[in-house]
């Protein structure tokens, strides 16, 4: 496996499956009374978060700790540019402290790719701007495979603000690797530029009408709703929250219709949710919802990612720790 995890496209199908298998055994560890594994003993993992995050940061922190790594969180709001220090100087200052892995969240797309050029440590992208969030896609894939098994040919519909969504970008890449049949849905103003040629090249479908996407063909196995930020309204992307919900929300009537077609349909959301905007309370709390499973999978998947990047697959048994 490569030294860094910057994009969901960095992983081959075998590597994804290996991570998901490791994540499954980590998930078992999570259910034990003593959760600590020695695998990353003596390793230092720094969570460098330039942008607010609760769930991703705490999930990486717990993952590192359960693997016995020394985990340190560094948070800083705003771009380093606004403080007068270059991003390169900021990360070199931190990696000068003999760091094995840098987990980076940054508000700027591509920041993790740039950092990976400058440092010796492994870089894990924990969300870069509106670009990618590969560990989210892995935990989504993990959640799906737990319920559905092999994703080959499974129908996944992703709905929401695609332009500004790193979850969408990583998911569409990872699901392609896993052979799923993906349709993405957004109002025309929130469809990324060049989505037409992109989707043709990468083999996913574009849809502007949610009902066509959900009910126009074979019933979906998974419906993934993306967060829509209310400030997009002032950007002129859509007129009102009400209009958005009518067009693109997973409302109760849509949920009912979905379940009528496929009683086992999975409802997913990367959080945080805007209940009543992109997802109704009924959908979020239904038996079809695996939203909390996604959160729970987050720790196991991040443990697996840390293990594969820092120890590798030939580093001995996970339970015994690294060489």
């Amino acid at each position: 496996m490569a030294r860094h995890l910057l994009s969901a496209a960095d992983l081959t199908r075998d590597e994804v499956l290996e991570i998901l298998r490791t994540a499954a055994s980590m998930h078992d560890v999570q259910r034990r009374e003593v959760k600590k594994l020695p695998a990353l003993r003596g390793r230092t993992v720094i969570n460098l978060f330039f942008e607010d995050s609760t769930r991703t940061r705490s999930s990486f922190e717990i993952a590192g700790k359960w693997m016995s790594a020394d985990t340190i969180n560094i948070t800083g709001k705003g771009s380093s540019a606004s403080k007068g220090e270059s991003l390169r100087d900021t990360v070199l200052t931190i990696t000068a402290m003999a760091v094995d892995a840098l987990v980076i969240r940054h508000s700027a797309s591509g920041a993790c790719h740039q950092v990976a050029e400058w440092v010796d440590a492994s870089v894990i992208n924990a969300g870069d701007g509106t670009h990618e969030h590969p560990t989210q896609a892995l935990l989504d894939a993990y959640t799906m495979t737990q319920r559905l098994g092999d994703l080959e040919g499974r129908r996944v519909v992703i709905v929401g603000d695609l332009t500004h969504s790193r979850v969408f970008r990583s998911n569409v890449l990872l699901l392609k690797t896993l052979g799923a049949d993906v349709t993405v849905v957004a109002p025309p103003t929130l469809m990324p530029s060049g989505a037409g040629p992109w989707s043709r090249q990468d083999g996913f479908a574009l849809e502007q009408d949610l009902d066509d996407a959900l009910f126009g063909g074979p019933p979906p196995d998974v419906v993934m709703m993306l967060r829509v930020q209310r400030e997009r309204m002032s950007g002129g992307y859509f007129p009102t929250a009400r209009e958005y919900t009518v067009g693109y929300g997973l409302t109760r009537p849509r949920l009912d219709r979905l379940r009528a077609a496929n009683d086992d349909v999975l409802v997913m959301h990367p959080g945080p949710m805007n209940r009543g905007l992109e997802i109704s309370a009924e959908a979020a709390d239904s038996l079809n919802s695996v939203i909390l499973d996604q959160v729970s999978a987050g720790v196991a998947v991040r443990m697996a990612v840390l293990y594969h990047l820092l120890v590798g697959t030939d580093g001995g048994s996970i339970e015994e720790g690294s060489a």
């Binding site: 380093s80 390169r88 797309s109 920041a111 740039q114 990618e132 530029s193 060049g194």
Partner: protein, 449 residues
């Protein structure tokens, strides 16, 4: 100053001739080998195999002085210009303080004279502080010793149509021209940093759509027609922008345009790895745009090549892509890139290149001493080029104080051999001949390698 004799140079790449330069002017031109009697103390350049052209004129250079002397000075930028075959550069107004008064313009002019390597002609700001609101002292800049004729808020588009209209009306009286950074600010969000298209969609980077450029060119063309004043389109970068320029010219509107070497040669795919070396404004575009720009430069729709030489400190480029500074170096590499892409490829002749890099920009800027034919009586602002020489660009060999060079490691065919400013050699073999002693206000020394 001793006489200079250039022997055997092919003028505009055509017939070989000997040229005698005396007192800063061309005194004799002869196609008869040996017909010119070489004065005893003359400096003689054997230019056998070289082409002789009028010195290049750059309509668009950022020299960063005053304000960011750590990244470029008038002296270091002049050295880079001379090494690149330029005899005149127009220094953009976005310094700190901004060149928006007569005094500021004269200051730039004098810094250029002190450096003594290239004629540095200041560009005046159109609006005070480049804020796009109130007119700068256009008339006082024009009347000053600097005689400013080109005005620009470059780096920012004059988005307010009313301000643009008034400025055009005002400068018409003294034959000025506005060089517009054509980019409708409302068509992109403030963090736009690359071309809007499939790649920006994949990379999650906010982009500028092509109509941000073409719509402003169209608006300005109509304002130029209405006011009877002149608009110059700075660094056109899109096929649709070219289309509007072609249309406006066909209507007889007084519109001219320039293109940069990087927009002729580098495409949007360069930003795939988020390397801010390739972050530039306007952004690098797709291949279709590049091909349209080349065609338009060849057929004359685009009048001139201009570098948009934009030096930046390394630490201003080592931010996340959206936060990094815009711009790239260009003075030293312009001829090699344009020669390789346009002449060697057969799109145009060396004489056409000379028109686009010398006479057309000199005419647009009103610089009567530059871009003249190689003939008796013309000021000896000249460049000798070797059209067969291979150049491998080494960013560390630059005269610029900055290193944001997108061409590092690239190979081009065509090199600047010698530059002559008013009869005096200012560069040889890609190295500027910095006058002794350092006269650039203490900064000139830093321009040396």
């Amino acid at each position: 100053m001793s006489d200079l004799v250039i022997t055997g140079a092919r003028i505009l790449g055509e017939a070989a001739a000997d040229v005698l330069v005396r007192d800063g002017e061309i005194a004799q031109v002869s196609e008869q080998p040996g017909a010119i009697e070489i004065p005893v103390d003359a400096e003689v350049i054997d230019a056998d195999g070289l082409a002789l052209l009028p010195g290049f004129v750059d309509l668009h250079t950022h020299l960063r002085e005053p304000g960011r002397e750590d990244t470029e000075t008038v002296a270091s930028g002049s050295a880079a210009a001379a090494a690149g075959g330029f005899t005149a550069v127009l220094a953009m107004a976005n310094t700190n303080p901004v060149t928006d008064t007569g005094e500021a313009a004269v200051h730039i002019l004098e810094l250029g004279r002190r450096a003594g390597l290239v004629e540095v002609q200041p560009v005046g700001a159109v609006t005070k502080g480049l804020r796009g609101e109130e007119l700068a002292e256009l008339g006082l800049m024009a009347r000053s010793k600097a005689g400013v004729r080109v005005f620009s808020d470059d780096g920012r588009c004059i988005g307010d149509a009313r301000v643009m209209r008034r400025a055009l009306e005002y400068i018409r009286g003294f034959g000025g021209v506005i060089s517009q950074h054509s980019q409708e600010p409302h068509l992109a969000d403030g963090s736009a940093c690359c071309h809007e298209g499939e790649l920006s969609g994949r990379l999650g980077l906010p982009g500028w759509p092509s109509p941000a450029e073409s719509s402003i060119i169209a608006r300005d063309a109509m304002l130029a027609q209405h006011t009877g004043s002149r608009v110059h389109v700075a660094h056109v970068s899109t096929a649709e922008g070219v289309e509007v320029i072609r249309w406006a010219k066909a209507r007889g509107i007084a519109l001219t345009a320039e293109v940069t070497p990087h927009h002729l040669a580098l495409d949007v795919s360069r930003v795939t790895g988020y390397d801010p070396t390739f972050k530039v404004n306007p952004p690098l575009r797709p291949q279709e745009d590049i091909m349209a720009l080349r065609e338009a430069l060849a057929d004359g729709t685009i009048d001139a090549v201009a570098t948009d030489h934009a030096p930046h400190a390394r630490h201003d480029k080592e931010h996340a892509f959206v936060d990094a500074a815009f711009g790239m170096l260009g003075l030293e590499t312009a001829f090699s890139v344009v020669h390789d892409v346009m002449v060697r490829s057969g799109r145009m002749s060396l004489a056409d290149l000379s028109t686009r890099m010398s006479s057309a920009p000199a005419r647009i800027a009103g610089l009567t001493g530059h871009g003249r034919s190689v003939e008796v009586g013309a000021p000896a602002n000249l460049v000798l080029v070797d059209t067969a020489a291979q150049v491998v660009v080494d960013k560390n060999a630059s005269h610029s104080l900055s290193r944001n060079n997108p061409w590092h490691g690239s190979t081009f065919t065509g090199a600047v051999h010698t530059t002559v400013l008013r009869g005096r050699l200012t560069a040889r073999d890609g190295r500027a001949l910095v006058p002794e002693p350092a006269v650039g206000g203490g900064w000139a020394a830093e321009a040396q390698p």
